[in-house]
Amino acid sequence: MKIQFTDAQLALRDELRAYFRELMTPALRAECERDMGEGGGPLWREALARMGRDGWIGLGWPEEYGGRNLSPMEQFIFVEEVMRAGYPFPFLTTESVGPTLAEHGNAWIREDIVPKILRGELLVSIGYSEPDAGTDLAALRTTAVRDGDDWIINGQKMWTSLAHFCDYTWLAARTDPDVSRKHKGISMFLVPNSDPGWSCTPVHTLGGVRTNATFYDNIRVSDDHRVGELHGGWKLITSQLNRERLSLINFGPISELFNQVVQWARAAPYAEGGFIADQSWVQANLARSRALIECMKLIVYKQSWAMTAGTLGMADASAAKVFGSEGFIEVYRLLGEIVAEGGLLRSHSPGALEQAGRIERLYRTASIITFGGGANEIQRDIISAAGLWMPRASR
């Protein structure tokens, strides 16, 4: 038990901070801001490829994929720092779908697709949800039908975020038409978004972020594009979702925002005299935020350690997801109260302040992770069953 970074890990963190100070040029920042913190622009792509060339994306990956063979903890430090720097890092591709592809993919996927991901040259969107299959994901109706050596895919997916600039979709499709087999009739495919049968329409959200509805019209793929066992897709979905739940809880940006709000409150005059940080309610909000973010940090550190030790449990991944998602919302509220009316100004408004403008957007985007990546109600079901061995109602 030693809950501290090693000197080498601290040195890595410092090296990454220096790297990103140089990488994050004003032009790149402006482009990311324009793209609502989602990325996808030309400067963003160039920066991602540069991180890949410089060996950062695959820091914790085995050398056979082009990685540097360090542990998940070093990988985690890298993701923390790239996010802290304000770069919209495509962590779903690199940290959740990528490892699942490496674990279950065939030779083509392991030798071509995964190394391209680590070079920052290939992005994958996730096609799980459908208009009538959300929390009950196994109710999905998109089909893949065998035709000779190929598969013909038809269906519609919802909330396919980033799909408009991704190269492939990691798609869950029904391969056994017997719906009574539900969870046992799903297989996973890697579908090229460049296929003429693939299309998408934007869905605009409260936070200004674009997501997509995606359509799959008689897309023909070879069996090489199928991942894992036939009808064995559910295991891959839950494995990917466990990883996604961890990568959603990234404390780098929120700890940076916290530090900025503290420094701002210490220097900003309070209308009735003194500074904003002198107010007892401001101090209480800061301390409450500090205590919440500390736990986010420790939870993700512990899970990175558990991934290294091979002991990551389902209940703990779900606990991280619930705590982190609800914690973000609470912290944005607590910090938003401190920046007060400033947090009502859009970031491009005259008079907008940097951190207050960010909080204005964050309160609008924060709701997504309490239901995205698996609704928190389902996570709590998992926690009471897998963490406390309580029986649960059959569904």
């Binding site: 038990m1 030693k2 809950i3 501290q4 970074f5 090693t6 890990q9 903890m73 700890s255 940076e256 916290f258 530090n259 503290v262 420094q263 409150a265 210490r266 940080a277 002198d278 007892s280 401001v282 101090q283 209480a284 909000n285 800061l286 301390a287 409450r288 500090r290 205590a291 973010i293 500390e294 736990c295 940090k297 420790l298 939870i299 550190y301 512990k302 990175s304 350690w305 558990a306 030790a309 209940a315 703990d316 606990a319 619930v322 705590f323 109600e377 996570q379 709590r380 079901d381 926690i383 009471s384 069953a385 963490g387 406390l388 061995w389 309580m390 029986p391 649960r392 109602a393």
Partner: protein, 372 residues
């Protein structure tokens, strides 16, 4: 970054759990309910002393195991799980630790070995108030003379020696006073959780120079010790809360209403899931504080955060566990109720969540405790 137990830590946890499981039960604890007897199981205490566990953090040259505060904290977590009636926090945390860290070699040689063996029981006035001494000292020809009152000292009635921080002009000294010193008077308190605490009144109590732990600059000793006392309360809270939650998980899995276990109702399962998350937060903050303090690293922020969680989690878990048990949870024939008393004590002692939040907030406003 290592969240796992070393082999030795795993063995110590297993040893502590074995001894406590064998010796502590609802039946044995009932003997102390409503102050029927002082809540101190001397037989269990001797068994623990024989195992060496109370001397975990004492150097081998003084008869201890030579391990650190991390290991002591893991032992205390097990004590919290069993709410054992033994003076580990008073003796080991507020007695042995500052004596070992701050005493001169003569005092160490005289008191540490018998205290590590348990032949002398120690306690300290580090468990209440703000850290400002409530006892004043004045210099005499051969030492100090004390006057004042310590509002609540755990196991003061049972202890042989009391460690007392005392004001000395503008400075703080820390002294050792024998419990039978002339001019020292104890008043037994009736604490909510039945643990023996006493108010200590001192009227012209003489302290010879040889019994002065530190003659000046005692503020650092007080801060150092109170941070460890606070972290120890968090560890104790962690064990108690975790046990209460597992009682509730077990009960709701067995108890049937409408023909099914009540655990299958999402409203019940989710309340327990929230307890699970809460306790995981408390566990991580507490272990972090223990780890940093064990390595003598600065941990003021981390200890404050752990105590904020200890307070909030104790409160929420206590009432959630009582609630899902229905009347069974408050029935004194069922073990949960005693845990609720300890969850409350650990919540409030050495600063509630509100007061710790205020203290952390003041530091943040000074620019201290930001993320690195």
């Amino acid at each position: 970054m290592d969240f796992g137990f070393s082999d030795i830590q795993g063995e110590l946890r297993a040893l502590a759990r074995k001894i406590l499981d064998d010796s502590v039960s609802a039946g044995t604890l009932a003997a102390y309910d409503e102050f029927a007897a002082p809540r101190f199981d001397r037989g269990l205490w001797q068994t623990l002393l024989d195992s060496g566990l109370p001397g975990i953090a004492v150097a081998e040259e003084y008869g201890g195991m030579g391990l650190g505060f991390m290991e002591l904290g893991l032992f205390i977590e097990e004590l919290g799980r069993s709410i054992a009636p033994v003076p580990v926090l008073a003796h080991c945390v507020s007695g042995l630790l500052p004596l070992q860290r701050y005493a001169g070699s003569a005092l160490q040689a005289r008191l540490l070995p018998p205290a590590a063996r348990g032949e002398l029981l120690l306690t300290g006035d580090f468990w209440s108030g703000s850290g400002v001494p409530t006892v004043q000292a004045e210099a005499t020809a051969d030492g100090l003379r004390l006057a004042g009152r310590c509002p609540a000292v755990p196991f003061a009635r049972q202890a042989d020696w009391l460690l007392l921080p005392v004001g000395l002009a503008d400075d703080i000294a820390v002294v050792l006073v024998p419990a039978d010193a002339a001019g020292l008077r104890l008043t037994d308190l009736q604490m909510t959780h039945f643990e023996p605490h006493a108010a200590v009144e001192l009227d012209a109590v003489s302290v010879p120079a040889a019994d002065i732990l530190v003659a000046s600059g005692g503020e650092s000793l007080v801060t150092w010790t109170r941070e460890r006392c606070t972290a120890a309360l968090c560890a104790q809270q962690l064990g108690s809360a975790d046990h209460a939650m597992h009682l509730a998980a077990g009960y709701t899995s067995e108890r049937k209403q409408f023909g099914v276990p009540i655990a299958t109702f999402q409203a019940v399962g989710h309340r327990m899931a929230d307890g699970y998350i809460d306790i995981e937060c408390l566990r991580l903050c507490t272990w972090q504080a223990l780890s940093l303090l064990g390595e003598e690293r600065s941990a003021t922020t981390e200890v404050q955060i752990a105590k904020i969680w200890a307070g909030d989690v104790g409160h929420r878990v206590s009432y959630a566990c009582q609630h899902v048990h229905g009347g069974t949870g408050i029935d004194r024939d069922y073990p949960l109720w005693r845990y609720c008393l300890w969850l409350r004590f650990n919540e409030m002692a050495l600063g509630s969540s509100a007061s710790q939040t205020a203290a952390l907030g003041r530091r943040l406003a000074r620019g201290e405790g930001l993320f690195s």
